[in-house]
C-alpha cells in the first residue's frame, strides 16, 4: 500500500492533527507552534499539488476512507475541479497564515494564540474536506466543524462587537446547516443513499415519485448554502462578522470560507441533482437574480460605509455574487468566469484585508475618512491596496478583468446581455467606492497626522506576493482557464 494513495485523507488528517497539537505545542514549545502550523499547511499544499499532477495524468479517481466502498464508507472524489478548489484553499490559507504571524501578536492576547492556530487549522481542514468529499453526511459534518470554528475565530478577540457578530453568525449559520440537514433527510428518505453518485443515480426516479419533496430539498439547499455564502438577501451576518474579526480571520473568512459554500452549491446542482430537476423548476433563475441583486446591493451598501473593513466586507457580498452568477447563468463559459473569480477574489480580498490589517496595526485607524495622505507613510501597503482595488474594478492587467470577461461572454452566449450590464454597472460602483480611498491616500496635500509604527517585513512580503499573483493571473490567465475549461467539461 503506497502512501501516495492516501493523500486525500492525509491532507485532512494532517490539518486536523495539527489543530489538536497546536495548543499543546503552544504550552510546551511555544516557538515551534507557529512554524509547525505553517509546515503542515505547506505539506498539505504539496500533497494537493501532487493530487493535481495525478489527476492530470490518470483523470478522475476516488478514495474510500478506511477502504470501505460506498454506500457504507465515506468516499472522497478527486477530479480537476475539486483539486482546483483544494489548491485555492490551501495556498491562500498558507499565504494568510504567513501574514497572520505578526498581525496576531498585535490583535490577540498571548494565551489564546495556541487556540487560534487550532481554530485556523480546523477551518482550513474542514474546507479541504468539503472540497473533496463525495458524501452528503460527511459534508454536513464538515460544514458544522467549519461553522463553529469560524464563529470562534471571530469571537476570539473577545470584545463586544466580535461577540455580537459571532453570535449573529452562529444563529444564521445554524439555520443554514439546519436547512441543509432537512434537505439531506428528505433525499435520504426517498433514495436511501448519502453518496453523491448513488443519490444522483436514484434521483430521476425519485423526482417522478415525489416531485414536491425533491423541489423542497433543492430549495432548502439554496437557502442553506446561500446563508453560508452570504447570497443576497441572506447576507446580513457577513458585514459584522468579517469586519470585527481579527484581520487574518477576515481575510480567510471573506477570501475562502464563503467561497467553499458556493462551490458546494455548484456540486449539488451539477453533480447531485439530475438535469431534469433543474430544468423543471427555475432554480438557476432564482440564483441568477439573487446574485445580481447581491452584486448591486453589496456595492451600494459598501459605498456608504465609514469603516474600512466593513466596506471590504460589503464588497465581498457583491463579489461572491459573481461566483453565484456563474452558477446561475448555467453556461460553461460563464461558469469558468465564476470559478476564475473565485480564485482571483480569494487573492484580492485577502490582500485588501491584509492592507486594512497593516493600516490598523501601524496607525490604529479604521475610518476611511482618516486615511488621507496615508500613501506617503505606507507606500507599499497602499500600492497593494491600489492593485487589489484595480482588480476589483476590473482594470486590464489584473485578474478581475479576466473573470468579468468570461462571465460577460457567458451571459452573451446564452443571449442575456442584461447581465453584462449588471456586471459593468457593479464595476463602476466598485470604482466609486475604491477610487476615493486611493486618490485621498496619495493625493492629499496635508501631511498624514497620526503616529505610524514601522511595518514589519513579515507583513509586507505576503502583500508583495499577493500583488504579483493578481498581476500574474491577469496576464498569464491562459493555463488556469484551460484547466477550468477541462474541469468544468465534466459537468456539462
Amino acid at each position: 500500500m503506497e502512501l501516495t494513495n492516501h493523500f486525500p485523507a492525509l491532507i485532512l488528517a494532517i490539518l486536523l492533527g495539527i489543530s489538536f497539537l497546536s495548543p499543546i505545542l503552544y504550552r510546551w514549545a511555544r516557538k515551534a507552534s507557529a512554524p509547525a502550523l505553517i509546515a503542515s499547511l505547506f505539506l498539505a499544499l504539496v500533497m494537493a499539488v501532487y493530487l493535481l499532477v495525478q489527476v492530470l495524468q490518470v483523470g478522475e479517481f476516488t478514495y474510500y476512507m478506511g477502504g470501505w466502498p460506498p454506500p457504507w464508507g465515506i468516499e472522497f472524489k478527486v477530479n480537476l475541479l475539486r483539486v482546483y478548489m483544494l489548491l485555492i484553499v490551501l495556498a491562500v490559507s498558507l499565504w494568510i497564515m504567513v501574514y497572520a504571524l505578526k498581525d496576531l501578536e498585535h490583535e490577540l492576547k498571548t494565551e489564546v494564540m495556541g487556540w487560534y492556530y487550532t481554530l485556523y487549522a480546523l477551518v482550513v481542514g474542514s474546507m479541504a474536506g468539503m472540497a473533496l468529499t463525495n458524501d452528503l453526511f460527511n459534508l454536513f459534518v464538515l460544514m458544522e466543524i467549519c461553522a463553529i470554528s469560524a464563529c470562534a475565530i471571530i469571537s476570539i478577540k473577545e470584545d463586544r462587537a466580535c461577540l455580537e457578530a459571532s453570535f449573529k453568525y452562529l444563529i444564521l449559520s445554524a439555520m443554514g446547516t439546519g436547512c441543509f440537514l432537512l434537505g439531506v433527510a428528505m433525499i435520504y428518505m426517498v433514495t436511501g443513499q448519502m453518496n453523491y453518485d448513488l443519490v444522483n443515480a436514484a434521483l430521476p426516479e425519485a423526482v417522478e415519485l415525489y416531485p414536491n419533496n425533491m423541489f423542497a430539498a433543492a430549495a432548502l439547499f439554496i437557502v442553506a448554502f446561500g446563508t453560508k455564502a452570504a447570497l443576497f438577501p441572506l447576507h446580513v451576518w457577513l458585514p459584522d462578522a468579517h469586519a470585527s474579526a481579527p484581520s487574518p480571520s477576515s481575510a480567510m473568512l471573506s477570501g475562502l470560507v464563503i467561497k467553499i459554500y458556493a462551490f458546494a452549491l455548484f456540486i449539488m446542482f451539477y453533480q447531485l441533482f439530475p438535469r431534469s430537476l433543474l430544468e423543471s423548476i427555475p432554480l438557476n433563475e432564482i440564483v441568477l437574480w439573487l446574485s445580481s441583486m447581491g452584486i448591486m446591493f453589496g456595492s451600494i451598501f459598501a459605498m456608504v460605509q465609514v469603516d474600512l473593513k466593513k466596506m471590504l466586507a460589503y464588497s465581498s457580498i457583491g463579489q461572491i455574487g459573481y461566483v453565484f452568477l456563474g452558477i446561475g447563468l448555467d453556461d460553461i463559459i460563464a461558469m469558468t468566469g465564476g470559478f476564475y473569480h473565485l480564485l482571483v477574489h480569494a487573492i484580492m480580498k485577502s490582500m485588501l484585508f491584509m492592507c486594512a490589517g497593516i493600516i490598523i496595526y501601524t496607525t490604529g485607524i479604521r475610518q476611511i475618512k482618516q486615511l488621507g495622505g496615508i500613501g506617503q507613510v505606507l507606500p507599499i501597503t497602499m500600492i497593494a491596496f491600489t492593485i487589489g482595488s484595480a482588480s476589483m474594478i476590473g482594470i486590464p492587467g489584473t485578474g478581475g478583468l479576466i473573470s468579468k470577461w468570461y462571465l460577460a461572454l457567458g451571459a452573451l452566449e446564452i443571449g442575456r446581455p442584461i447581465f453584462v450590464v449588471i456586471i459593468l454597472a457593479s464595476s463602476l460602483l466598485n470604482a466609486v467606492y475604491y477610487m476615493p480611498i486611493i486618490v485621498n491616500a496619495f493625493m492629499q496635500q496635508e501631511q498624514f497626522q497620526h503616529q505610524v509604527k514601522p511595518v514589519p517585513r513579515k507583513m509586507l512580503i505576503p502583500l508583495i506576493v499577493g500583488m504579483a499573483a493578481i498581476i500574474f493571473f491577469g496576464v498569464f490567465s491562459r493555463p488556469a482557464i484551460v484547466l477550468l475549461d477541462e474541469a468544468l467539461a465534466l459537468f456539462f
Binding site: G394, P396, G397, L412, A431, V439, S477
Partner: protein
C-alpha cells in the same frame, strides 16, 4: 527594413519609455538636471525610432504580429499600418516638444520627480494604443494611459484639480467599461477582436448596434464627443500647461483613432451606411462642433477657452468619420495632424503666459503681445490656423472636409463648418487683437506703443516656434508629408484597411 526589424522597433517604441519610468524615478532623487535630460533623450529617441519606420510604411508595409494568447483566441498583438504610423508619429513628435518645454516650465513647479516618470509612462502607453494589433491590446493600453494620465491632471493638487480629476476618473472608468462591453460583444459575434481580419461584424443586428454604441461611448468619451465631453473642459485646463498640450493635442486623438478602428476594422463602411449608423455619428459631430465653439465663446479663462475649442475641433474629425468618403477621411486624418500641432502650440503659448505673468483670464491679456512678442506671434499663427485662414494648415483640413461633405451631397455639413469657423474667429480674435493693439498708459502720456520684450527662455520658446512653423508649412506648401500620409491612409482604409 523588413518585418522582423519593424516588430523590434515597435516593441522598443512602446516599451522604452515605460522602462525609462523607474530609471527616471530613481535618478530624480540625485540630480534634477540629469532627470530632465534623460526625459528629453527618452522622448527624442522614441520619436527618432518612430521616424525610422517611415520608409517601411510608405512602401505599403504592414505588420500584424501576435505575441501570445492571454485567453483562447484573445491575444496581445501589435500592428503597424499607415493609420497607426500617422498617429504614432504626430504623438511622439508633440511629446518630444512638450518634454523640452517642460524643463523650464516645471522648474517653477513642485513634484517634478513625479511628473517626468508619469509623462514617459503615458508616452509609452499612448504609443501602445496606436500600435496595438487588436481591440483587447488597445483596451489595455487605453486604460493604462487614461488612468496614469490622471496623475498629470491632478498634478497641481489644488481643490479644483482634484475635483476635475475625480470627474475625469469617473468618466474614464465609465468609458472603459463601455469599451469592455463593446469588445466582448464583438468577440462574441465575431470570435476574434484582431485588426488583421477585416471587418469582424458584417451584419447590423441590434446587438451589433449595441456594440457600436458602446464603442462610441468609450472612445467618444475620450475624444470629447457631446454629451460625454463634460470632463474635458475641467480636466485639461487644470493640468500643467505642457501636460494640457499633450492631453488636448495627443490624448484626445486616441479616442478618434479608436473610432477609426471601430468603423473600419470592427465594422465596415457598408455596415455603417446601410444601417444609418453614420447618421448617429454625424448628428453627434454637428452638436459637438457647434456646442464646443459656442461655449468656448463664453469662457473667460484662457485655458478653458482652449479646452472647449478642442471639443469643437474633435467634432470635425467625427464629422469626417460620419461622411466616410475619400476626401472626408483625408480631412479627418489631416485634421488630427493639424489640431495636434495647433492646439499644443496654443496650450504651450498659454502656459508661457501663465508662467511669465501668472495671468489666466482673457481680459487681463491686453497688450501682452508687446511684452511677449514671440509667444504671442506663435499663438496668433496657431489661432489663425484654427479659424481656417489660408494658407495655414487648418484651412487645408477644413477645405478637404468640406470637399468630402460636398461629394456626399451634404451641403448642411459645409454650412456647419462655416458657422464653426466664424465662431472660432469670434473667440480667437478677441485674444489676439488686444494683445498687440490695445493701448497701455493713459491719455496724457499718449498712446505710446511701449515695447519691453520679456519673453520666455529659449527652451520654452523653441517648441512653440517649431509648431508655429509647421502650421504654416503644412498649409499649402508643395511638400506636405502629413497630407500625403492622410491621403495614403484614406486609400488604405477605403480598400478595406486590414490586408
Amino acid at each position: 527594413m523588413d518585418e522582423a526589424t519593424a516588430i523590434t522597433v515597435i516593441l522598443v517604441v512602446i516599451f522604452f519609455p515605460i522602462i525609462m519610468t523607474p530609471i527616471l524615478m530613481s535618478v530624480s532623487d540625485r540630480s534634477e538636471k540629469l532627470r530632465d535630460i534623460l526625459a528629453v533623450v527618452t522622448s527624442a529617441i522614441t520619436f527618432l525610432l518612430v521616424l525610422t519606420l517611415y520608409p517601411f510604411v510608405v512602401r505599403g508595409g504592414i505588420v500584424q504580429h501576435t505575441f501570445f494568447e492571454i485567453l483562447p483566441n484573445l491575444e496581445i498583438s501589435i500592428r503597424l499600418d499607415v493609420l497607426s504610423f500617422s498617429l504614432t508619429a504626430i504623438a511622439s513628435f508633440i511629446w518630444l516638444l512638450s518634454t523640452i518645454y517642460s524643463i523650464d516650465y516645471m522648474a517653477k513647479e513642485h513634484g517634478g520627480s513625479r511628473y517626468y516618470p508619469v509623462l514617459m509612462f503615458t508616452l509609452g502607453s499612448c504609443l501602445g494604443i496606436f500600435l496595438a494589433g487588436d481591440f483587447f491590446t488597445l483596451f489595455v493600453f487605453f486604460e493604462l494611459m487614461s488612468l496614469i494620465s490622471y496623475i498629470l491632471v491632478v498634478h497641481e493638487e489644488t481643490e479644483e484639480a482634484l475635483k476635475a480629476g475625480y470627474k475625469y476618473l469617473v468618466m474614464t472608468i465609465i468609458g472603459g467599461l463601455a469599451l469592455f462591453f463593446g469588445i466582448i460583444i464583438t468577440f462574441e459575434l465575431g470570435g476574434t477582436v484582431s485588426f488583421g481580419v477585416g471587418s469582424i461584424i458584417e451584419e447590423g443586428t441590434l446587438i451589433a448596434f449595441l456594440a457600436f454604441m458602446c464603442f462610441l461611448i468609450g472612445f467618444g468619451m475620450k475624444a470629447g464627443m457631446f454629451p460625454l465631453h463634460v470632463w474635458l473642459p475641467d480636466a485639461h485646463p487644470v493640468a500643467p500647461s505642457p501636460a494640457s498640450a499633450l492631453l488636448s493635442g495627443v490624448m484626445l486623438k486616441t479616442g478618434a483613432y479608436g473610432l477609426f478602428r471601430v468603423i473600419f476594422n470592427a465594422f465596415s463602411i457598408e455596415v455603417m451606411q446601410t444601417n444609418n449608423w453614420d447618421i448617429v455619428l454625424g448628428v453627434l459631430a454637428v452638436i459637438t462642433i457647434l456646442l464646443g465653439s459656442a461655449v468656448a465663446l463664453t469662457q473667460n479663462d484662457l485655458k478653458r477657452r482652449l479646452a472647449y475649442s478642442s471639443v469643437g475641433m474633435m467634432g470635425y474629425v467625427l464629422l469626417g468619420l460620419s461622411v466616410l468618403n475619400e476626401n472626408a477621411i483625408i480631412g479627418a486624418v489631416f485634421h488630427i495632424f493639424c489640431h495636434a500641432i495647433m492646439k499644443s502650440c496654443l496650450f504651450l503659448a498659454a502656459g508661457a503666459i501663465i508662467w511669465k505673468t501668472g495671468k489666466r483670464t482673457i481680459s487681463e491679456l491686453g497688450s501682452i503681445g508687446r511684452e511677449m512678442p514671440f509667444t504671442m506671434a506663435c499663438f496668433s499663427i496657431a489661432a489663425l490656423a484654427m479659424i481656417g485662414i489660408p494658407p495655414l494648415s487648418g484651412f487645408l483640413s477644413k477645405w478637404t472636409l468640406g470637399l468630402g461633405a460636398l461629394d456626399a451631397n451634404a451641403t448642411f455639413y459645409v454650412i456647419v463648418l462655416l458657422i464653426s469657423s466664424l465662431l472660432n474667429a469670434l473667440y480667437y480674435l478677441p485674444i489676439i487683437v488686444p494683445a498687440f493693439f490695445e493701448m497701455v498708459g493713459d491719455e496724457e502720456q499718449g498712446h505710446a506703443l511701449k515695447l519691453s520684450v520679456q519673453d520666455v527662455p529659449p527652451k520654452m520658446l523653441a517648441p512653440m516656434i517649431i509648431l508655429a512653423i509647421f502650421t504654416v508649412i503644412f498649409g499649402l506648401s508643395p511638400i506636405n508629408v502629413p497630407f500625403d500620409l492622410s491621403q495614403m491612409t484614406s486609400d488604405f482604409l477605403l480598400k478595406g484597411g486590414w490586408f
